[in-house]
């Protein structure tokens, strides 16, 4: 990837989830860090993520799930990206991904198996993702 092409991120909060604060901060942080951010906001369906990624030729889809329904809401997203021809688009997910306090190793495995490239626990600071984005796209 050329150095001066801005990386495009589709950002959103999936499912019936309305937690808007983290989304707003991620938007701010990614923009400040020089990325091109397409923010589809809260309560975004899988289709909205896919459509936005197709329309903007996005490099990465960053999914937030805070409310606990991450397992149900994220299932099948990877398959839909492939159907849509987004073979090279990376999938990141983070937040409070499941209901309750569970073993993180298990959660990570579960979401990796669903096809996510990177999975982040609650409390992850934006800088960490920014560093990973820079690593994945350099």
């Amino acid at each position: 990837m050329e150095k001066n092409k801005k990386i495009t991120i589709v950002l959103g909060v999936i499912g019936a989830d309305v937690h808007a604060v983290g989304n707003r901060i991620l938007h701010h942080a990614f923009s400040e860090a020089g990325f091109n951010v397409i923010n589809i906001g809260v309560m975004a369906s899988q289709e909205e993520f896919i459509n936005a990624a197709v329309e903007t030729s996005a490099d990465v889809i960053v999914v937030s799930s805070l409310c606990g329904h991450g397992e149900i809401d994220c299932r099948g997203l990877k398959e839909k990206t492939i159907e849509a021809g987004l073979h090279n688009v990376k999938l990141y997910v983070g937040g409070n991904l499941v209901v309750g306090k569970q073993d993180w190793k298990e959660i990570e495995k579960k979401f990796k198996r669903m096809g996510f490239d990177r999975v982040y626990p609650s409390g992850t600071m934006p800088q960490e993702v920014i560093d990973d984005l820079n690593a994945d796209f350099s």
Partner: protein
């Protein structure tokens, strides 16, 4: 929008027409029979009735502790509540509704129930009361000896209310604003307000039959740096709308901001101002109480630090003499708490409430100043809302949100104006950095500007969005004011 917003108690015949449709929207709706429900409530023992408990607590000047709790499966949910009553020593209980049900996505809720059965653990973040239906609700209510409340954040809670109230719940949380702006993205205010006029009218009907159901507004809104003037204005409007439909027991909510003088001033003025406006509109016979929410924003991951946050919330609730406190848990930053973690939060809180039962915050110059500014701010907003509605409060609310006269920070809703920017002052009180279109006098604006400028000087930086971000992260990082590193 073709929804019609009532400006007085909805005609019962007209109500019944809408009602038929509501009850048909999911099979369990058919289980509701209002006459039978009234009979059910009449035989419900006093210890299971929320309005009675609130009245007693208020008379004794003590603060009740209530957790949040809800699980996908009935037996699991009952077990949870019984545990919180027995081990957690909760004074009253909730039934927190899952977020599919909150969006009327009963099919997805059903999927969650089924998967929970298969996985053997709750895959939902709450209790899907509509799917479980009326008899299940009565099982819940009868399974414990303290009153149980429906807690949620549902823009269209009509069916939920029909089922749960007929199901014997004696308190119902929410409101046309507080269940929309923080909890939805695309729901027009006209619609959520009309839906909630329905809920209030239903409760008004129970009241006509001699059954008092408590109504509570969701004070914390987005839980994130919401200044008292905003949540108070919303609470007062929702109280007026509820009273209009015949509701007689109202609990006003407020979410802890963190500065104890501001928080105490908020709890005190919340009831005073609500009383003032209810009186003005001729609703003299409303029983009022207050509910204080322990810190509703981001929590520290560390459990002992979470206990610190919980303890501070308990102290403020007790000193401000709130009627009820909604309790957080040491798992808050992680996820829906286990029943054990939930009980720990309640017990830590109750220890403090009990130790402080006989103490209260003395009057002081500082407290008086905070009360004065809140009163001025709220009157400025609410008076304008009423004016905008030309005597129709609901309509005024719609117009006020359009104009940014009412504005909720960090709200996901598109009908929210979204220009307010709050930040803490140098003592941690929540002030405004950007006022959007709030109808504030120069005096009020200067007060906020002065307070925030003082902090800027202290921190040697210009107030900006970075300051706000720092404040949002602060409590999670063990601070109240987000100081620059």
């Amino acid at each position: 929008m073709d929804v019609e917003l009532a400006k007085e108690k909805i005609d019962w015949e007209q109500f019944k027409q809408i009602r038929r449709e509501v009850l048909m929207s999911w099979p369990t709706g058919q289980e509701v029979d209002l006459d039978e429900a009234v009979e059910y409530h009449k035989q419900l023992a006093a210890n299971r009735r929320f309005p009675e408990l609130l009245r007693a607590a208020k008379a004794e000047g003590r603060t009740l502790a209530q957790p949040r709790a809800g699980a996908a499966l009935l037996h699991e949910h009952i077990e949870l509540l019984q545990y919180l009553e027995r081990e957690g020593e909760a004074d009253c209980l909730p039934t927190t509704i899952d977020s599919y049900t909150r969006q009327n996505r009963y099919n997805e809720a059903q999927k969650g129930i089924d998967e929970s059965r298969i996985e053997g653990r709750s895959m939902l973040n709450g209790f899907p009361a509509v799917n479980h239906g009326l008899p299940a609700c009565r099982e819940v209510v009868e399974a414990v000896d303290v009153p149980v409340q429906v807690r949620h954040g549902t823009p269209d809670a009509r069916l939920l209310a029909e089922i749960t109230l007929a199901g014997g719940f004696t308190s119902f949380e929410g409101g046309g604003i507080s269940c929309n702006i923080p909890y939805a993205k695309n729901v027009p205010l006209e619609r959520s307000l009309a839906n909630w006029q329905y809920v209030d009218r239903l409760i008004g009907y129970y009241q006509e039959q001699g059954i008092t159901i408590n109504r509570e507004s969701f004070g914390p809104l987005t839980g994130t740096l919401v200044p008292p003037c905003i949540s108070h204005s919303v609470g007062i409007i929702e109280a007026l709308l509820a009273a209009e439909q015949g509701v007689k027991s109202i609990t006003l909510g407020y979410g802890q901001c963190g500065n104890f003088i501001q928080d105490a001033a908020a709890v005190i003025t919340l009831e005073e101002l609500a009383r003032e406006y209810l009186d003005k509109f001729g609703y003299q016979d409303i029983e009022l109480s207050t509910v204080f929410h322990q810190w509703m924003g981001g929590f520290p991951q560390d459990e002992s630090k979470a206990y610190g946050v919980i303890g501070w919330g308990a102290v403020t609730a007790a000193l401000a003499k709130a009627t009820k406190v909604i309790v957080k848990t040491p798992h808050e930053a992680m996820g829906v708490p286990t029943k054990e973690a939930n009980a720990l939060g309640i017990k830590a809180t109750k220890q403090i409430l009990n130790m402080l039962k006989d103490q209260s915050l003395p009057e002081s110059e500082e407290l008086k100043q905070e009360k004065d500014i809140i009163v001025q701010e709220v009157r400025a907003i609410v008076d304008r809302v009423i004016e905008f509605g030309e005597s129709n409060v609901a309509l005024g609310t719609v117009r006020a949100f359009q104009a940014g006269i009412l504005d909720v920070p960090f709200a996901p809703s598109k009908v929210n104006y979204g220009k307010l920017l709050p930040a803490r002052d140098n003592n941690g009180a929540v002030r405004l950095l950007d006022f959007g279109n709030l109808p504030f006098t120069k005096e009020i604006i200067d007060f906020h500007r002065g307070k925030i400028a003082q902090r800027g000087r202290e921190e040697n930086r210009q107030p900006s969005f970075q300051m706000v971000i720092d404040d949002i992260y602060a409590i999670g990082k063990g601070m109240l004011v987000g100081r620059p590193r």
